[in-house]
Subunit: 328 residues, 2 copies
Amino acid sequence: MRQPLRIGIAGYGNLGKGVAAAVGQNPDMELHGIFTRRDPASLRVPGDVAPVFGWLELLEHKSDIDVLILCGGSKEDLPRQGPELAAHFSTVDSFDTHARIPEYFAAVDQPARAAGTTSIIAVGWDPGMFSLNRLLGEALLPQGQTYSFWGKGLSQGHSDAVRRVPGVAAGVQYTIPAADAIEAVRSGARPELSTRDKHRRECYVVLAEGADAAEVEQAIVTMPHYFAEYDTTVHFVSEETLRREHGAMPHGGFVIRSGTTGGGYDQVIEYRLELGSNPEFTASVLVAYARAAARLNTQGVIGAQTVLEVPPALLSPTPVEQLRAELL
Amino acid sequence: MRQPLRIGIAGYGNLGKGVAAAVGQNPDMELHGIFTRRDPASLRVPGDVAPVFGWLELLEHKSDIDVLILCGGSKEDLPRQGPELAAHFSTVDSFDTHARIPEYFAAVDQPARAAGTTSIIAVGWDPGMFSLNRLLGEALLPQGQTYSFWGKGLSQGHSDAVRRVPGVAAGVQYTIPAADAIEAVRSGARPELSTRDKHRRECYVVLAEGADAAEVEQAIVTMPHYFAEYDTTVHFVSEETLRREHGAMPHGGFVIRSGTTGGGYDQVIEYRLELGSNPEFTASVLVAYARAAARLNTQGVIGAQTVLEVPPALLSPTPVEQLRAELL
C-alpha cells in the first residue's frame, strides 16, 4: 500500500472539517485536497492544510487520491454521490439513514465492483461502533437482550425540527438517556423499556420577536414522531446564552448487552462513548476506516463493505505482528 | 459450511464445562464429544450433553469435528497441545500468557498452514475482547491514552499464590479496581497511574491448624510480584464461609481510551465487562470464535489467527445481509 496514504475530502461541512483535523493526527496519511460544491475561493480552511478544488475537478485527481472520504449528508447528498463516486474512487462514508442501509449498500456495491474500488459505508458511531458492539454482544451472549441509549448529546435532526416550529428564532435539542433505565439495565435486570422510559428530550429555544412562549412550547412537546412520545422540557434562552452555552456538539451513548450463559450466570457487556465533539469523533472513525479501505483494495477485496465485515487490525497503522505482541 | 457445526472439546475443567454449556446456547452447533486425559468413565458431564472419549482417540474423530476447542491451561497444556492439534484440526484456544503470544502464534501457525487448518489463538476477554478494544481505541483516537482495569474479580493466579503460603489451608484473592482511578480516567483527565493506584487486592484465607495469623498475613502482603506492590487486605474466614461466599468466579474490568481529536475536543471510549462467571464468559467467546474459525477455513484462510484479525460478522450465526439490515 502506498505510504503516505493520500486522502481526499468530498464536502466541507462540520464532518469534512473534522476529517481534515483527523488526517493531521495520522502520520501515515496526507491530505491531497478538499473538494467542494461551493466556490473554492470562499472556503476558509484552518491552517491551509490542503488545497481546495471545485467539485467538477474530482475526476482529474483520480490518480492522486487513494481514498475519498465522503462528508455529505445522508438525506440529499450521499444517495447520489456514494454510487457515483464509488465508480471512480475507493470511498468511506457515514451514511446513517438506518432503514435504507441495505438499499444504499447495493447501490454502492455495484459500481464499486465494476470499477474495482472498495467502499466502506455507514461508518461512524451509530451506525458504526455501536453496530459493531451490538453484533459482538449478540454473538458472545446469544441468550440476552441488547439496549442502545443515546446522549447526553445534541441531536441534529431534532434541533432542526425545533427550528422549524413557527415562533422559534433559534434552538437546539439534547437527547438525555434516563439514568434509572441505564442503572436497571446495568444491574442485569433486563427490563422492558418503552421509548419514553429510555430517553428524555431537552430543548433550548430563542423565541422570535412577538412569538407566544406557551404556544411554541405546546407545538414542540406535541410534535408527532419527534417529541410527542417523550418527556420533553423546553427552556427559553436569549440568543447570546444559546451561542455561549450551546455551541458545541457533544454526544455519546451506551450499548449494553445483558445475557445469561449456559450455567445460569449473568454477564453484562457495556460499550460507552462520551464525545466532546460528535463530528470530530465520527471523522476520526472515518479516517481509520479509510486506512482499512485502502488495505482491503490492495488485497483485492472490492465492492461495498461495512464495519461488521472489516478485520479490525486493518484500522491500525501498526503492523499486525506488533499489534499481537503489544495488545493481546 | 457444514450445518450444524460439529464441535469437539479438548480438556474438561471449568473452561471445558463452560464450552459445553455455551454450545448448547447456539442452535447452529452441536457437541460431538469431550476428550479428556483422565479416565473417560470418571467424568460427570451435566445432562450427558456429549459422549466422553480418551485423549488418544482424538485423531479417530478427525472427520467428525469441524472445530476443536482447546480448554487446557496456558502454562503446561497449550504450548504443547496447540501446535500438535493444529496439525489435525481447526482449533480455538484461550492461550493467555501475554508475553509469549508471538512465540505461541508462530508455533501454531506453522503446523496449521502445513495442514490447511485454521487456529484462532488467545481468545477470551483478556487477551481477547479487551485486546480488540485497545486496538479500536488506539486506531480511532491516535492521540490519547489507554487504561485497562481488572475486576472486581477472582484471580486464579493470585489465589494460587495465596494458597502456596505456609499456614494457609484454603483461600481466594479478589482484584479490585480503584474507584477513584476509574473516575479520574473517565473524566478525561488522563492521569499517570502506578500499579498500586489502579488496583487493590483482597484475600479471604482459611488458616491451617496451629498457623499464626499475623505471620501468614505478613507473608502474603510482602510477597514480591504478587502482592508487595499493591495495597493488600487479608481477611481470615472459616472454611464454611469460604465455601458459601467465595465459590463463584466473577470477574470483569474496563478498557478506557481517553483521547483528543484534532480540534481539541476530549473523547472517551469505555468498554466494560461485568461477568458473573469468568470461565463461562470466556467459553462463550471461544464458541463464537469457533464459528469464525470454521468459516475462515471454508474461505481458505488458514494458519494462526487472533481476534485482531477476524472479521466480526463471522462470529454471528446470522447472515451478513441480515446483520447489515438489523444492526447498522
